[in-house]
């Protein structure tokens, strides 16, 4: 299962979402950090990848100052995940509309694939999952 942390509306994410569903992935969307932690608690054993947006509301579990008032909530969450024994081995992907060099540099330093929504197509995202060897949750038979 892919846990996707993004507060954009479904129509905005539809292209990516449908691509993943059609490829056999089960996708759960969390719209803020609080929802992310709830879903991780519920689905921990099933989550085999987390896709993270950067520009996110802080909710109640992320410090506003640390997250620069929401401008880098995703980075804070990723750091927490990497530092937590329970979650540190879950593969991570950044998928964001931001194209800032400091985020790219952070991603590179932490060995997390960086995907920018302006350039990354839904097919590119699928390819990235395959590169990370994230298996779909069901097999799709193409006739």
């Amino acid at each position: 299962m892919i846990l996707w942390v993004d507060d954009d509306t479904i129509p905005s994410l539809r292209a990516y979402y449908d691509e993943l569903i059609d490829a056999g992935y089960h996708v759960e969307i969390a719209r803020d950090p609080d929802e992310m932690w709830d879903k991780l608690a519920e689905y921990l054993d099933k989550v085999n990848c987390i896709i993270m947006d950067i520009l996110l509301p802080t909710g109640n579990s992320v410090d506003r100052e640390e997250a620069d008032m929401g401008y880098s909530t995703g980075l804070v969450l990723l750091q927490h995940l990497k530092n937590d024994e329970k979650f540190k081995d879950i593969p991570l992907i950044i998928l964001t509309i931001l194209n800032e060099s400091k985020i790219k540099a952070w991603a590179k330093k932490n060995n997390i694939p960086f995907c920018n929504k302006q350039e990354t197509t839904s097919l590119d995202l699928l390819k990235k999952l395959k590169e990370l060897k994230i298996p779909p949750d069901r097999v799709i038979h193409e006739n």
């Binding site: 507060d7 954009d8 509306t9 479904i10 129509p11 905005s12 994410l13 539809r14 292209a15 990516y16 449908d18 691509e19 059609d22 719209r31 803020d32 520009l55 996110l56 509301p57 802080t58 909710g59 109640n60 506003r64 100052e65 997250a67 008032m69 929401g70 509309i97 931001l98 929504k117 302006q118 197509t121 839904s122 097919l123 193409e142």
Partner: protein, 624 residues
């Protein structure tokens, strides 16, 4: 004759000196009048204290604080001033300071014995400007301990009084002029330096030359975080990180000043009698000062372009005596000088704040505009790739096409919002910004506005039917698209700020009725006016509005405190555009209820019921 010598010496000294004129004049006095010692003290009428400004022939060690600053009460200077206020004499002569009652008041007995001081002449110096207005206020005193053979006269007294009085006035003017010149020099040579770099020499060097103080900090108002952030300081105790030092409105003395927009002068921090003030003085952060904190003042810095808007706060701790590192008291003159400096500093601050708002706006705008564009691109890319694919379900094509259409409409509406903001600030005359035509407020404006928010409502899982329109609606002569923007933004706001935990409670009601000169009050019962026209209420069951923010919500880029915790997106532009357009059309918008329901009321004046107003001179005016 001594009078002629004195005049010559004093005139020569005053021509050659800069703004440290007093010590130079005192030197001139002691060169003509043979004396064991002479001193010039400034009287602080706010604190009833005196501070030494200059002295000749005696230089006490700095630890003898009374030689530099002491209260008037109980001192010989205080005794003399009281006596001089009763009579109109030019000077007060004492044959021997060791005689009663003078010796009882003499604070530096050790010095008197050491220097064998006996005869003393005190010449109180009148405030020159106030004297011109017929007021007799002493602002300084010249004390001379002459050799015994010296004979004082009224004429000598008058010469000394007038010259020193003029010198003090001149010193004040020169100080202001010099301060202005130095700050403007910094401004002109600023290049690409940021505000913090510009403020550093001003508070560490320039301002300190005119008022010697131990600690100073400048805070800049952040309209996005709704707080005062530290911009520059001479040093904060504990050496915290700059980004950790801030105050919210009303917090501590700094936040209190920002809220009231009034200066505060505290003579002695150790002796505050007002309980409220004492509570507020529990600073989170204080300036680093070598001496314990005593004297303090703080000023709000107001925006030059809008004098009732706060830009920041400056606070200064521990004035030092001019000739020794002894803690002294601030007076209104110091406050006025810093106020003058703040008018100039505000030029930098306003520029910096505008730049930060512009950058934040551009960043947010970039993101908000990109999101629908990326969604359109994503949906279109999938369609192009899978158009002929047998695996693409039929229903999906319609879904993708609807998404493309909805996001395109949303992007157009957002772009229009930007367009109206740009038009609002471009200086274009109002008459050129709008196309006026007859529009039914309900059929031509409200109903299309409601349609525009369909995609937003749908994606948020809300029932479009829960946006209802009722009441009596007039035909108005306005710009249809501008008014559509108004209600598009009002509805979008109501959707965004709904109760997320209870989606089924979502409801927006729009109602309109005629107002026949009835008194209109806002939620706090503040009078708006007795106006003829229509009142349109937009009610929603959302998260409500904080009463403290009721006017701020219309500011450009303003986002409510804590809103980053939720998933409310936005530029913080919508209500600014709404207010701008409504202002242009002589309408008013205000919060008439804060919660349950949240009610925004729009007053539409009767003059919009026909198009005569577009022929009036006022319509040709530029933007406000």
């Amino acid at each position: 004759m001594i009078e002629a010598q004195l005049v010559k010496a004093l005139l020569k000294a005053s021509i050659t000196s800069g703004h440290d004129i007093i010590p130079i004049l005192l030197k001139a006095v002691s060169s003509v009048i043979k004396c064991k010692m002479c001193s010039f003290w400034k009287i602080n009428n706010d604190t009833d204290s005196v501070s030494i400004l200059a002295r000749e022939h005696y230089y006490p060690p700095h630890h003898k604080e009374k030689e530099f600053v002491h209260p008037l009460k109980g001192s010989l200077i205080g005794y003399v001033i009281d006596k001089m206020e009763e009579n109109k004499d030019i000077f007060f002569g004492i044959d021997s300071i060791k005689n009663p009652p003078f010796w009882n008041y003499y604070l530096s007995k050790e010095r008197a014995l050491e220097l064998n001081l006996s005869k003393m002449i005190c010449i109180p110096i009148i405030n020159y400007e106030k004297h011109q207005r017929g007021e007799r206020i002493f602002e300084a005193i010249l004390n001379i301990y002459p050799e015994n053979e010296f004979i004082m006269s009224d004429q000598i007294g008058e010469i000394l009084r007038d010259q020193f009085s003029l010198a003090i006035s001149r010193s004040r003017l020169l100080s202001r002029e010099s301060l202005t010149r130095e700050i403007m020099k910094i401004y002109e040579s600023r290049g690409t330096k940021d505000l913090s770099s510009i403020l550093h020499p001003i508070i560490n060097r320039i301002l300190r030359r005119h008022i010697n103080y131990e600690g100073c900090s400048v805070f800049l108002w952040d309209p996005f975080l709704n707080r005062l952030n530290l911009e520059q300081t001479t040093g904060i105790e504990g050496k915290p990180k700059k980004q950790d030092v801030y105050y919210y409105l009303g917090e501590g003395i700094t936040g209190y000043i920002a809220e009231k927009k009034e200066p505060i002068l505290i003579h002695d921090l150790l002796d505050i009698k007002d309980k409220d003030l004492l509570e507020k003085c529990t600073h989170k952060w204080t300036e680093e000062t070598p001496h314990p904190k005593r004297s303090f003042f703080a000023l709000p810095i107001m925006r030059p372009s809008k004098s009732d808007e706060l830009l920041g706060v400056i606070r200064i701790t521990n004035k030092l005596n001019q000739i020794a590192p002894v803690v002294d008291y601030f007076d209104k003159g110091d406050l006025n000088l810093v106020k003058h400096a703040c008018v100039l500093i505000a030029l930098f601050m306003e520029n910096e704040q505008n730049e930060r708002i512009r950058i934040a706006f551009a960043m947010q705008m970039g993101h908000e505009m990109l999101t629908p564009a990326v969604a359109i691109k994503g949906s279109a890319e999938r369609l192009v790739r899978m158009w002929n694919s047998p695996f693409l379900p039929e229903g999906k094509v319609k879904s993708y096409l609807n998404d493309i259409l909805d996001h395109a409409k949303l992007q157009i509406a957002l772009t229009r919002t930007i367009e109206y903001i740009w038009k609002g600030s471009s200086g274009t005359p109002i008459s050129e910004k709008y196309q006026i035509e007859a529009c039914d407020l309900k059929q031509d404006i409200l109903i299309p506005s409601r349609k525009l928010v369909i995609p937003l409502a749908r994606t948020e899982g809300l029932k479009f039917d829960n946006i209802t329109i009722s009441g009596q609606y007039p035909v108005l002569y306005v710009d249809k698209f501008a008014f559509e923007q108004v209600f598009f933004n009002l509805l979008t706001n109501a959707i965004k700020y709904r109760e997320l935990k209870n989606p089924s409670s979502f409801q927006i009601n729009i109602d309109c009725k005629e107002n026949n000169n009835d008194t209109i009050n806002d939620e706090k019962n503040n009078y708006i006016g007795n106006l003829k026209g229509f009142l349109l209420h937009i009610d929603d069951n959302g998260i409500g509005i904080n009463p403290a923010e009721k006017d701020k919500i219309f500011l450009l880029g303003y986002r409510r405190k804590g809103i980053e915790k939720t998933n409310v997106r936005g530029l913080g532009l919508g209500l600014t555009v709404v207010k701008k357009i409504l202002d242009d059309f002589y309408c008013k918008i205000y919060v008439s209820n804060y919660k349950k329901p949240t009610r925004l009321t729009v007053f539409i004046p009767e003059k919009l019921l026909n198009n005569k107003y577009i022929r009036e001179k006022e319509w040709e005016r530029g933007t406000a």
